[in-house]
């Protein structure tokens, strides 16, 4: 397998497909979505061939010389920690490209009226593929520079997609999105630069050398600010609600589950694993922060009337869970966090796509104008439920497995050393009831009760929008039934953490 350089292919093929898809879309219009799905499907297959090795703890590394004078290599890595990140990103991108066919057609027609220019489709799919490449590259990176490069690279296409295809005052919102995450990223950059001056290398493997240095807390803090901005924890979340709401839904379905979850992955990769002792000092802050994010996001999502805005805040709340797992400082919790990234990816992607479907069929996202839709859109209602259960952690979805791992991790980490700690952990756990509450409440408001006015003729969205979501829901349940497919990879990569 390694002779084929699968990781290089995974990065290069969608990139190389970009102009092809662009030109195809110039000629053929919306059906380019299916063409864009082909390279993604191929890369997904490649990834799956790497899965068995990763589960055994084997690292797959491909590396090239890049800029030898500053000791840079261009490395691509797939190990237990990253493989499921990659699979999730790739899978979601693949399914959303199919979903986009009808959805973005709808959106482009809305924007441009009847004579929708083929360039609109072309640039959408080209940017879409670039965005996917950016996210994949981030996860595959082996050094900080490469990571930063892709980290910013995924920002530009996503910003353009929001700017060009979004809703509302999309230009302002796109700018907000770009600037917030960019500011976070440049602070991360300062951390990266400091690392370089201490270790003389950008490689991840060198990060552990910092741990004993006096500057380590500052570097960790810089990293954390950078990542927490992307994760949109409380206080740094202000770009999130508007962005997720106004972005085209097919992109939000990648932004929320796939992109912002790269931050916790990076925290694990950069901080938790190599700098465990330093990280330990940050644990109380992070736990508190995670808790605040979790509750605040939940409360805010209760207050929303716009489906996408609701989902945006619920994403924030879920990021609180993931952060909690990362902050637990135990193998179980950290694995659970990455696992929850996967589950949340499945669930939230379904939910955002459902929001898109509602927009597609009803033309509004205002919850107060919906109600009783379960009759008219039974498949959509079922998918929504499955999405919400996946996020809220109701068995047999994968969300159940990931959430209990997070919580077990919280009770397994440093918090468990004292009665106070355990009580605190219990309080944290108690607060999570709010996720069930906001999850069920929205289902009740959209799908239950008497049918709202004017929705008599509504029906389920077309098959090309539904099928990807059904596939996701099935995968979420299968992973929930056989979690070893994910957990073995994670445990093999994170077993050293255990205290």
């Amino acid at each position: 397998m390694s002779q084929l350089y699968p990781l290089t292919q995974i990065l290069i093929i969608p990139l190389a497909a970009t102009p092809v898809v662009y030109l195809y879309a110039r000629k053929m219009g919306r059906s380019a979505g299916y063409v864009a799905a082909i390279p993604l499907a191929y890369t997904l297959l490649l990834l799956l061939t790497l899965l068995p090795e990763a589960a055994k703890g084997v690292k797959h590394l491909e590396s090239y010389t890049w800029a030898p004078s500053i000791g840079l290599t261009f490395g691509l890595l797939a190990d237990g920690l990253s493989i499921w990140m990659m699979i999730t990103i790739n899978l979601l991108a693949l399914l959303m490209s199919i979903y986009s066919v009808r959805y973005i057609d709808h959106r482009v027609k809305e924007l441009f009226g009847g004579e929708s220019p083929s360039t609109a489709y072309a640039s959408y799919y080209a940017l879409y593929l670039l965005y996917e490449v950016g996210m994949m590259g981030t996860v595959m990176s082996t050094n900080l520079i490469q990571f930063y490069l892709f980290y910013e690279l995924m920002l530009v296409p996503s910003w353009l997609l929001i700017n060009n295809y979004g809703y509302g005052d999309r230009e302002r919102v796109g700018l907000l999105y770009f600037l917030w995450t960019h500011v976070g990223a440049v602070i991360l950059l300062v951390g990266i630069l400091s690392t370089y001056w201490i270790t003389g290398s950008f490689e991840f493997s060198a990060l552990s050398l910092i741990a004993a240095k006096p500057q380590a807390p500052f570097i960790v803090a810089a990293f954390l600010i950078g990542f927490l901005t992307k994760m949109a924890v409380f206080g740094l979340h202000l770009w999130l609600p508007d962005t997720y709401t106004q972005a085209p839904t097919s992109i939000t379905a990648l932004l929320s589950p796939a992109m912002s979850g790269i931050a916790p992955y990076a925290i694990v990769r950069f901080i938790v694993v190599p700098m465990y002792p330093v990280y330990q000092r940050f644990q109380p802050i992070l736990v508190a922060w995670a808790l605040i994010t979790l509750i605040y996001g939940g409360l805010m999502s209760l207050a929303q009337d716009d489906v996408k805005r609701y989902l945006a805040y619920s994403s924030m709340s879920q990021m609180g869970y993931i952060l909690l797992g990362v902050a637990s400082m135990s193998t179980l919790g950290t694995s659970g966090a990455i696992f929850h990234y996967v589950s949340h990816g499945f669930g939230k992607c379904i939910l955002f796509a459902v929001a898109g479907a509602l927009l597609y069929r009803i033309g509004t996202l205002s919850i107060s104008r919906m109600g009783g839709l379960a009759d008219r859109m039974p498949v959509t209602a079922t998918l929504t439920l499955l999405g919400i259960f996946t996020i809220a952690g109701v068995p047999p979805t994968s969300g159940f497995m990931s959430k209990w791992m997070i919580f077990a991790g919280v009770f397994d980490g440093p918090l468990s050393t004292s009665l106070m700690g355990i009580s605190a952990a219990t309080v944290i756990l108690l607060m999570t009831v709010i996720t069930i509450a906001y999850g069920l409440w929205i289902v009740k408001r959209i799908f239950f009760g008497p049918l709202a006015e004017g929705l008599e003729m509504v029906e389920d969205p077309p098959a090309s929008m539904e099928a990807p979501l059904i596939i996701l829901a099935v995968i979420a349940i299968l992973v929930g039934l056989y979690p070893r497919i994910v957990s073995d990879c994670l445990f093999s990569a994170l077993s050293a953490l255990h205290v």
């Binding site: 409360l299 919280v410 756990l429 009740k444 008497p450 979690p483 445990f491 994170l494």
Partner: protein, 698 residues
């Protein structure tokens, strides 16, 4: 005990019954709605067959129970492999406790499925009903049979999910399905009630989760048998932190308290009556709400070993807490049942109250070293007998509601003549509930009271007194709902229905299952009479003997304190008399007008209002958790998120820079002399500051 040497297939083939009995209903849940696309009849048939398959597979376990050689922990495969701890395995724990509960669940489920075919006839959403119903059966059996906490949680959450789906079954929220009221008392829509149930039990679930994870942290395993076997080491380790064992015990009770609707998480169950009546019968009376009782019984050996085997005094928290909570809940719910106006709600309160009895029995079992098996057996015995008669009561209530099309008892009355079969069946079940000999309820309730009495501590005696009073209240409210429904003068509603000719007896498909349940109630009662002849023949003794094996390495003293054999029956007889006389005077014989009696005295009126408003607990919860959170979120959104954060950062920072821009752009005057002036000033400033820095001043 089985180990994982055998391949999964071998395990499945060696023990098909336990595995199939929960897998088949889940498969059925997926298949049955699909069949519904082809034919309705085939779908109903399929549902019944899948439920039957559960009964049949469960019944293959009964021989093990009878001959006393059960397989114990059967493990299929590794589910999650941890880096440095034993793996989490998919496995079933087949021991007397799980065999008994699983059979009760499977049997009652099957009967109610049959009943549902009649009750739900013609409902357009039947595929969804069957999906949730069969999924429930599968999950409930999984919960009961699983050998570790995580699989138990899967079942636990699964039944919660089905409960939510079925309470809110009428999701269109038509007015006729609302519960509560009559106005001005608030009414709740089915979808609201479903959510309430899920959220309130969710509180319990997370507490249970916390306990599980604490235990896991110290013991390193989720498996029940391993936990019990290694308890002497990890319990000591855990109890090294003072207070932690008590905390764990309380948290461990959280789940059962939520699921079994015990105080303070009992408020969801009355609203759960918004679902179709078979659902109330199965999930909210006979099976799911017993999951908590089952779990307490399942984990109580750990605490028993901790308390009596290892001498850890904190372990007693578990027993004391659950005994007190159970007893108080029994009293609390019974008091509310005495004033309830809705038939199903009265039964719901009664369910809460009866589960309180079971909890009480399980609680007192740990208060005295020798009472353990007696208490455990009493609890489980009451669980079985309650499951039978309460299911029967609910199903009868379903027949009644189906006929009269109202949830209020004030809209009933005098139905005895119209629905004689239902009347007879319900009467038997109600008598059993009240503890009238020789029906099963009498024996099981006596067992509970008996174990209280023989525990012999001051606490248990106090609890005994409360429980006895509750028994009187039980008979009172039983008489009340039977009389209001079947006796007395027909209400206006009934008169109308009679004139229209709508009122009729339920079809056979509905009353046959009830009849089977009633027969079982009577049968158990009759078997128990045999116990008078020889204690070895009594079901209680049988349970005691079988359950004593589940405790593991510690030798259990089977006989603790003694109490005179006649004492419990005589006290409960006295209580029945009190309750019965009051009930006869007020309702059955209508010698005293209940309404006027209440009106006559401010004290009684106060008590009545207090009870009618559910001790104000419900309102308080709504005030704090619903209104509180809803207003908090609005306030936060308006004042923090929008006003401070969004306005401050997303608008404020750009505005700040805009302001800076407008201020700073004045620098660029466009006047040449000014530019040169800057130059001169900069020249001087740089020079002078350099002088200060490097040349030590001018």
């Amino acid at each position: 005990m089985m180990t994982q040497v055998a391949s999964p297939m071998d395990v499945l083939l060696a023990y098909p019954g336990p595995w199939l009995c929960w897998i088949l209903p889940i498969i059925g849940a997926l298949i049955t709605p699909l069949i519904g696309r082809v034919s309705r009849r085939a779908m109903n048939l399929s549902a019944v067959l899948f439920a039957l398959s559960a009964v049949l597979s469960a019944s293959t376990m009964i021989p093990w129970l009878l001959n006393g050689r059960w397989p114990g922990d059967v493990r299929l495969m590794r589910w999650v492999v941890f880096p440095d701890r034993p793996p989490l395995e998919v496995g079933l724990l087949i021991d007397p406790l799980s065999i008994i509960v699983a059979n009760v669940v499977a049997l009652i489920s099957f009967l109610i499925v049959v009943y549902s075919v009649g009750y739900m006839h013609g409902d357009p959403c039947l595929p969804r009903y069957w999906f949730f119903f069969l999924f429930f059966i599968g999950n409930m059996l999984l919960l009961v049979l699983s050998d570790n906490f995580i699989m138990l949680l899967v079942g636990w959450e699964g039944v919660g999910l089905c409960s939510w789906g079925l309470i809110g079954y009428y999701y269109r929220d038509e007015k006729e399905y609302w519960v509560g009221g009559p106005p001005p008392t608030p009414m709740y829509s089915p979808s609201h009630c479903g959510m309430k149930a899920f959220i309130v039990t969710g509180f319990g679930d997370v507490l249970l989760l916390a306990a599980i994870f604490i235990v896991y942290h110290y013991a390193g395993t989720f498996n029940f048998m391993e936990l019990i076997a290694s308890s002497s080491s990890w319990l000591r380790y855990l109890s090294a932190t003072p207070g932690l064992l008590s905390l764990t015990a309380l948290l461990m009770l959280g789940g059962p308290i939520g699921k079994s609707a015990q105080f303070p998480l009992h408020e969801w169950l009355p609203e759960a009556m918004a679902g179709p009546t078979p659902v109330s019968a199965l999930i909210h009376a006979a099976t799911m709400v017993k999951a908590g009782v089952y779990l307490v019984a399942r984990v109580s050996p750990i605490f028993y070993i901790g308390y009596w085997g290892l001498g850890l005094s904190e372990a007693s928290t578990f027993f004391i807490a659950i005994a007190v909570i159970g007893c108080f809940t029994a009293f609390l719910a019974a008091s509310q049942a005495m004033v309830s106006l809705e038939l199903k709600k009265a039964l719901a309160y009664s369910t809460i109250s009866q589960i309180g009895y079971m909890m009480l029995a399980l609680g007192v079992s740990g208060l005295n070293e020798g009472v353990y098996t007696a208490g455990l057996a009493a609890g489980i015995f009451h669980l079985i007998s309650h499951a039978l008669f309460k299911a029967s009561l609910f199903l009868c209530a379903g027949c009644v509601l189906h006929a009269v099309e109202s949830i209020y008892m004030s809209d009933m009355g005098g139905l005895r003549r119209v629905m004689p079969i239902t009347h007879a069946l319900m009467l038997i079940a109600a008598l059993s509930l009240s503890g009238i000999p020789p029906l099963s309820g009498f024996w099981s309730k006596d067992a509970v009271l008996h174990s209280c009495l023989i525990a012999g501590t001051p606490l248990s005696t106090a609890l005994f007194i409360v429980a006895a009073i509750t028994a009187a209240m039980t008979f009172f409210y039983s008489i009340r709902f039977i009389s209001l429904t079947f006796y007395g003068e027909p209400s206006e509603n009934i008169e109308e229905k009679l004139e229209e000719g709508h009122l009729h007896e339920a079809p056979a498909i509905m009353w046959t299952p009830i009849a089977i349940l009633d027969i079982l109630v009577i049968l158990i009662g009759l078997i128990a009479i045999l116990g008078l002849i020889s204690p070895a023949w009594s079901p209680e003794h049988f349970l005691e003997e079988r359950l004593s094996h589940s405790i593991g390495p510690i030798e259990v003293m089977t006989h603790g304190g003694e109490a005179p054999a006649i004492m419990v029956p005589s006290i409960s007889g006295a209580m029945l008399l009190i309750g019965g006389v009051a009930g006869y005077l007020l309702y059955l014989g209508r010698k005293v007008d209940a309404r006027r009696l209440v009106e006559s005295s401010p004290l009684l009126r106060g008590i009545y209002t207090f009870l009618w408003n559910r001790w104000y607990i419900n309102s308080l919860y709504y005030l704090i958790f619903v209104d509180g959170i809803l207003s908090l979120k609005d306030a936060l959104y308006r004042w923090l998120e929008s006003a401070v954060l969004d306005r401050g950062l997303n608008y404020g920072v750009p505005r700040l820079f805009k302001g800076l821009y407008h201020e700073l752009k004045r620098v660029q005057t466009g006047v040449l002399s000014v530019n040169i002036l800057y130059l001169i000033i900069a020249y001087l400033v740089i020079f002078i500051s350099l002088l200060y820095l490097f040349a030590g001043g001018v």
